[in-house]
């Protein structure tokens, strides 16, 4: 199939919080979720706050961001914001929780039954689309990693590692069947993460280097083309002398 070009993907509210299974001490949030689970208005306001928080946290990190900043971006007073999220940490936690899920979705889609190159190409494109369409999410994630992931160590050690282990197996299987050049599957995945997220996290640098020219929109297309070439050629199996089968 023709490589579908990086189209403007629908912008799902990536930051939308989702209830995580809290059974016992029924949700620690103050006024919301006491008798009735969620008011329509409450959810709206919370989303506005999370949106604003994403904007701020993505740039300044957790410690570098202030509730006042977030409140201002959200267009409400600080006490009012604190009415919905009694703790600064709670906002951050909600953002991160929602993020990781969405962030790993593209990798989850990598299908063992598909053609390796089609799958990998699709994965790269999806990741690149996410870097383009959700740069703030990417930066939030990067910020967290830079700080040593103090707030999500468990998540990356379980959910993320689990998923990567699973997909690494698929890659190795493809390699075993000679459909893909033999290479370290983990580092292969790392390299896809790195090259795609780079365009979100280091956007300023990319823009600066490419100059003020017509790169404004073209850079993601160019990146897609380049990365596709790099990985497709780089991972094409080549019969080497002294290899069995």
């Amino acid at each position: 199939m023709a490589p579908r070009k990086l189209k403007a993907a629908e912008h799902p509210p990536i930051a939308a919080p989702r209830q995580h299974k809290a059974d016992a001490k029924a949700a620690a949030s103050h006024p919301p979720a006491r008798h009735r689970p969620q008011t329509r208005i409450q959810k709206e306001k919370q989303d506005i706050i999370l949106e604003a928080a994403l904007e701020v946290f993505a740039v300044h990190g957790f410690r570098g961001s202030t509730i006042d900043q977030i409140a201002e971006v959200a267009g409400m007073s600080k006490p009012n914001l604190l009415y919905y999220f009694p703790k600064k940490e709670e906002i951050h936690r909600r953002l991160i929780a929602a993020l990781l899920d969405t962030w790993l979705a593209p990798l989850r889609e990598m299908n063992a039954d598909g053609d390796p190159f089609t799958e990998i190409r699709s994965y790269i494109r999806r990741k690149l689309e996410m870097a383009r369409d959700f740069p703030r999410e990417s930066r939030l994630f990067a910020n967290e990693m830079l700080q040593g992931a103090p707030r999500i160590s468990e998540m990356i050690e379980v959910d993320l590692k689990g998923l990567v282990d699973e997909k690494a197996k698929i890659l190795v299987d493809w390699m075993d069947r000679g459909l893909l050049a033999r290479a370290d599957p983990y580092h292969l995945i790392f390299s896809i993460w790195a090259t795609t997220q780079h365009y979100a996290d280091f956007d300023v640098q990319v823009r600066a280097v490419l100059g003020k020219g017509r790169n404004g929109e073209g850079r993601f297309e160019d990146a897609a083309r380049y990365l596709e070439q790099l990985f497709m050629h780089g991972l094409t199996p080549r019969p080497r002398p002294g290899q069995k089968t």
Copy 2:
């Protein structure tokens, strides 16, 4: 030649400040550099401070770091620290200035007269060594980028862009001569930056995914091997049907 393994590179004091050409208002620093340029002791203390600041800034970013933290790591009182660097921003500025220079050194070494693959392989290895030996510097840089490079926009728009433009020309020349697969030289450089720096900036993630096994030391070796393969194969010129010459 046999691929020299990633050896423990000498640890040059990357953070060592260097006087930048300030001619007029002779250096804004308070007590230092008034009559005599620099006392031996002053330089020592400044280096200790810069070291500590690197440690802190690299993790928490500019806004998220406090002078108290830096002072504590440096083993001195806050006012004492402020005696050497009257402004928090000044510390950061010095770090960044020294950093960018060192950071671009590997790229500067890429030699137009060398063999393309040797040059690129060396570049990748050097960058990977830097990610391994100077992760804090890498994170400091990443932090600055994430924030939109407010303090170094000029540097990246001039020095960095200039250097990349120059090296991109070399790459294109190699491609023209059929020594290297045709590809966007800018995105080629980006991909090397991304894949190598990833091991410093996302170290926690890399460690978590690779598991608690024997990866502790091996991951940089594995990464080097993998990246070498990816880029060497990915950039090998292949005569395609319908291509002139």
